[in-house]
């Protein structure tokens, strides 16, 4: 699936262009990803592929390699689909830092309403121009954005056998 990186301020234009000129009628999904601490650990060891080790890929030799550096902390990906034979799909991606706002694409595809609300709720990314940006999945008075990497998973410690 081709991934196109778009400047954050112009994402709505890009979406309109994708919908009108390129024929991507449906916005399937809006996902935000938090890349805090990305690349902190080396990606070493054997990467299993069906074809075995490949001399052209250093990672399959057990050497330490670091994943490619990401431009900013959060990426917001819009997955698009065209309802044509062959199902062409595309991903528009824009990058934001903490506190940066993203223009909302609800005028372009009404379905993004709840998707953007969910990403605001769970990741804390604010979408400008969204008609109803409130928490969707967490209770309204919840503090924090659970899917961020610096938010703990929560829960409680499980007591095994004779631990205190």
């Amino acid at each position: 699936m081709p991934t196109v990186t778009v400047e954050t301020g112009r994402i709505r234009e890009a979406c309109e262009h994708a919908r009108d000129e390129l024929g991507f009628d449906v916005c399937v999904d809006v996902v935000a990803t938090d890349y805090l601490d990305w690349g902190g650990e080396g990606v070493s060891g054997y990467i299993g592929t069906a074809s075995g080790r490949d001399l052209m890929h250093p990672m399959t030799q057990g050497l330490q390699a670091l994943p490619e550096v990401k431009p900013k902390r959060f990426s917001v990906s819009y997955h698009l689909l065209a309802l044509r034979r062959g199902a062409p799909r595309a991903r528009l991606q824009c990058w934001v830092d903490e506190g940066e706002h993203v223009p909302s694409v609800v005028p372009v595809w009404p379905t993004c309403d709840w998707h953007e609300r969910e990403q605001f709720d769970l990741m804390g990314i604010v979408f400008d121009g969204h008609p109803n940006l409130e928490r969707l999945l967490m209770p309204e008075d919840w503090e924090g954005h659970p899917l961020r990497k610096d938010y703990p998973i929560g829960g409680e410690p499980v007591r095994f056998s004779d631990e205190q």
Partner: protein, 196 residues
């Protein structure tokens, strides 16, 4: 009712006119029934046992299906794992008419308040079955959003494990609840107190 060997009435330790006055002749009622038959045909019980028996045989559940366990709960109503044989096929939608709350599924913190509200709206005597591991202890979801066991907010009588419990497992839980209640075990809110 009486599930003991037929014994004489005097073995029950009763103080009735018939026993204290051995020379009293039989009454009209006793003559019609037949003297010897009567002692074998009578059953003795206490009012509490009789009431518990009635409660056991028609304990109506409340529709509190949350997640996957709700689908298995629906299948005990279906014809194969027929729960109508226990008098429980009438799932009441209103908690005010229900006796049994089967919490089937994972309870998120957002849902905890409605759950407690529903429990409070039920009238005594009321029982709670925590169906599935998610309701019993949080299950496989040990995270920020799932209540780690529904017994944090409501007192639970029976915990049914598995994910999701087979309909037979849920029936076993229900039958054990019936047996416990019949034997005189008080509902959970009297034993563990109202949860904080």
């Amino acid at each position: 009712m009486a599930d003991k060997q037929p014994t004489r009435l005097r073995d029950y330790g009763l103080q009735s006119e018939r026993l204290l006055w051995p020379t009293k002749g039989p009454s009209r009622f006793e003559e019609e029934l037949g003297l010897e038959e009567m002692e074998r045909a009578l059953g003795l019980t206490t009012l509490e046992k009789a009431v518990r028996w009635a409660q056991t045989k028609s304990m109506w559940p409340d529709t509190f299906g949350l997640a996957c366990c709700a689908i298995e709960m629906m299948s005990i109503v279906s014809a194969r794992y027929d729960i109508a044989r226990f008098g429980m096929e009438a799932f009441r939608s209103s908690p005010r008419q229900a006796d049994l709350l089967i919490v089937s599924g994972r309870v998120a913190h957002k849902m905890a308040a409605p759950l407690r509200q529903i429990y409070d709206q039920m009238l005594e005597p009321k029982w709670v079955i925590a169906m599935g591991v998610c309701a019993s202890s949080g299950g496989m979801f040990n995270n920020y959003t799932i209540l780690q066991g529904v017994d944090r907010i409501v007192p639970v009588d029976i915990y049914v494990p598995f994910c999701p419990p087979r309909p037979e497992a849920l029936m076993e839980g229900i039958i054990r609840l019936h047996e416990a209640h019949q034997a005189g075990v008080p509902p959970a809110y009297e034993r563990v107190g109202v949860a904080t």
